[in-house]
């Protein structure tokens, strides 16, 4: 008999929580558990881990049982571009300074929208770079280097 996933949302959410439960229990087993009267650092996490295992498992099984909607993702472009924008900002900030990091952030995050126009991205970059320079660097005085330093 083939097992069919009838409710993808429940099934995968259940699996996710089951996985978190396993990680929690396995990791917490390394800490001393103690007794109910004097609990060690492992007691509460293990309790939570087992609860997650139960609820996650239950949700996954229910996903096989009850009908429901599947997952609909029209495009992974927004996910890739938005996380890419944050990560490139993170890695460019220290070596290249705020302005160049923002240039990467604005262009990559703009690519996340289906209505990307290079003209809009350029305008947006200048506006946001000006706001960031004035607000964060001069008014709030955050220690952000504007450009690369030697």
């Amino acid at each position: 008999m083939r097992i069919r996933i009838r409710n993808g949302k429940d099934f995968y959410a259940g699996l996710f929580f089951f996985f978190i439960g396993i990680v929690t229990v396995l990791e917490a087993r390394a800490y001393s558990i103690g007794t109910a009267r004097s609990m060690g650092p492992g007691y509460f996490p293990i309790l939570l881990g087992y609860l997650l295992l139960m609820i996650g498992g239950g949700t996954a099984v229910r996903g096989l049982w009850l009908k429901g909607k599947g997952i609909k993702i029209s495009s992974i472009r927004p996910l890739l571009m938005v996380s890419g924008a944050v990560l490139s900002f993170a890695f460019l900030l220290k070596p290249c300074g705020l302005i160049l990091a923002l240039l990467a952030l604005v262009f990559i995050s703009c690519l996340g929208s289906r209505e990307f126009r290079i003209r809009y991205a350029v305008i947006l970059f200048f506006v946001l770079a000006a706001i960031a320079t004035v607000l964060f660097v001069y008014v709030l005085g955050l220690p952000l280097p504007l450009f690369w330093s030697k």
Partner: protein, 497 residues
């Protein structure tokens, strides 16, 4: 009278120029994001949190609170004028508010919404003044068992508001509790769930979690179903409601205020639940229910008063007990902790300036909103035409600079990205982030009280059931859970969300 001295203290704090300025600033930002769909108060508070470090805690809280109630006003404006609820708490306002606008009566609808909200805000402020000290004194007598049970009740209440299945909401809470435990254990010094990464020894930063879950994840999911919106703007002419409008709505305003004030205090309550409950009530008791949906002014007056009252009174459990009843309150609690204030009943005793200053500022802020917002409606509506594709890169920028400026750490940014991706996947699986954040905030406190209760009872688990207050709260939690499972309520929940 004690309460008068407290109020005077509150006024002296709220009326310093800087606090007035931040109150206005918060209320305006709140209205702005309330108008803009796709940007919620939780995300905004998370975004602005890191930038409040260099102001005193009371000023920071005044501004953040302003964002919350300001967003209620902004949300109702767009519901009425363009049928787009800026916030989920003003979804029901669309029904009759937009119908009124199409009949050319947008002005009275907006005026009634604003006046009802202001009335509700005033009443809720008085309720906070009367109730909070009593509740706070009661809470001072609580032992660890009571605290633990109260947190259980708060967390169970949080599942009430989550969309979709109850099991998933509970799982999200548990996941949040586990994330909250990351870092060095206070009792034993053991490093837990750090996987050898030294940045995690002090735990995961609260701002990193909420920026990822509320900021980045929401941007990604908004872009996922991005579509062009046609916005028809209605002209607003003549704000004054007629005599018959006032006659029809004043009772609805009072009913909405009472309902909202009560529901706001309950765990899981707050603005959203209050507005839905008020609309249902008005429809039920109306002499002619068929008028609802085609422009009944009670259908605007009731829910709008209720959501504002609910938004205000949900501060009571947060301020007096240290228990957040919804996602925004969890963020406020996080803000207090970041500013070095331990939430709980001691706040009122040790920092009366903060407590009463915040409450008075909420009343002042509501007054400012009424005075300012009606003339500004034209500007707010024009802002609606700003497309999301111009907005979200700016939000990404605020997220990045906010997270980075916490500890000047690249690792924090990477972690926020991780939370963004996980949060997006969880949203796709119908798992909402709010319960996770609640769990994350309460996790460490819950463990501490659990351990203390067990030490005091010498390892006897029945302590939670033999103490009367603790038992009551656990019973209330059980009833809430059962109500959620019960088919009637479940049906209603699906209908509402």
């Amino acid at each position: 009278m004690d309460i008068f001295n407290n109020m005077i203290l509150g006024f002296t704090v709220a009326f310093t120029p800087w606090n007035l300025f931040y109150c206005l600033f918060g209320a305006l930002i709140g209205t702005l994001i309330g108008v803009l769909p796709g940007v919620g108060p939780a995300a905004t508070i998370a975004l602005l949190l890191p930038f409040t470090f260099n102001v005193p805690p009371v000023t920071a809280l005044i501004m953040l609170a302003g964002i919350y109630y300001g967003s209620q006003y902004g949300g109702s404006t767009t519901s009425i004028l363009v049928n787009i609820p800026g916030e989920s708490s003003s979804v029901v306002t669309c029904l009759d508010g937009y119908a009124m606008a199409r009949q050319g009566r947008a002005g009275p609808a907006l005026a009634i919404a604003a006046m009802g909200s202001f009335f509700a805000g005033c009443v809720a402020t008085v309720i906070i003044c009367l109730l909070a000290p009593t509740l706070g004194e009661l809470a001072l007598k609580f032992g660890p068992a009571e605290y633990f049970s109260m947190m259980v009740l708060g967390l169970v209440g949080a599942t009430m508001l989550a969309h979709g299945s109850l099991l998933k909401a509970i799982a999200m809470i548990l996941f949040g509790l586990v994330l909250g435990l990351v870092g060095t254990d206070v009792n034993s010094g053991t490093r837990r769930f750090t996987f050898g990464i030294s940045t995690l020894f002090d735990g995961i930063d609260f701002v990193v979690v909420v920026m990822g879950l509320f900021g980045l994840a929401e941007i990604i999911s908004s872009l996922d179903h991005e579509k062009k919106k046609e916005i028809l703007t209605t002209k607003v002419s003549g704000l004054m409601p007629t005599r018959s409008d006032l006659k029809a709505s004043w009772k609805a305003v009072i009913r909405g205020t009472v309902l909202g004030s009560v529901l706001g205090i309950l765990p899981g309550g707050g603005a959203i639940l209050s507005s839905f409950a008020s609309y249902a009530l008005e429809k039920r008791i109306a002499s002619d229910p068929s008028r609802f949906g085609i422009g009944a002014i009670e259908g605007v007056a009731g829910p709008e008063s209720a959501n504002n009252a609910g938004a205000q009174t949900s501060f009571i459990p947060m301020l007096t007990l240290g228990i957040p009843t919804n996602g925004v309150m969890a963020l406020m609690l996080g803000a207090m902790m970041i500013h070095g204030i331990t939430p709980g009943p001691r706040v009122m005793v040790e920092r009366p300036d903060l407590f009463w200053g915040l409450i008075v500022s909420m009343w002042v802020g509501n007054l400012m909103l009424v005075v300012l917002n009606l003339p500004l409606i034209g500007i707010w509506v024009r802002l609606l035409t700003v497309p999301y594709r111009f907005l979200y890169p700016a939000i990404v920028m605020f997220c990045c600079i906010g997270v980075y400026s916490l500890n000047n750490s690249i690792f924090d940014l990477a972690m926020a990205t991780g939370f963004g991706i996980v949060g997006y996947i969880l949203l796709k699986l119908d798992c909402e982030p709010a319960p996770l954040v609640l769990g994350f905030i309460l996790g460490p406190m819950m463990e501490i009280y659990f351990r203390r209760a067990m030490v005091l009872s010498r390892g006897d688990f029945t302590v939670f059931f033999t103490q009367p207050i603790s038992l009551t709260m656990l019973l209330a939690a059980a009833i809430l859970l059962l109500m959620n499972i019960a088919p009637i309520v479940r049906h209603k929940r699906e209908e509402v969300f």
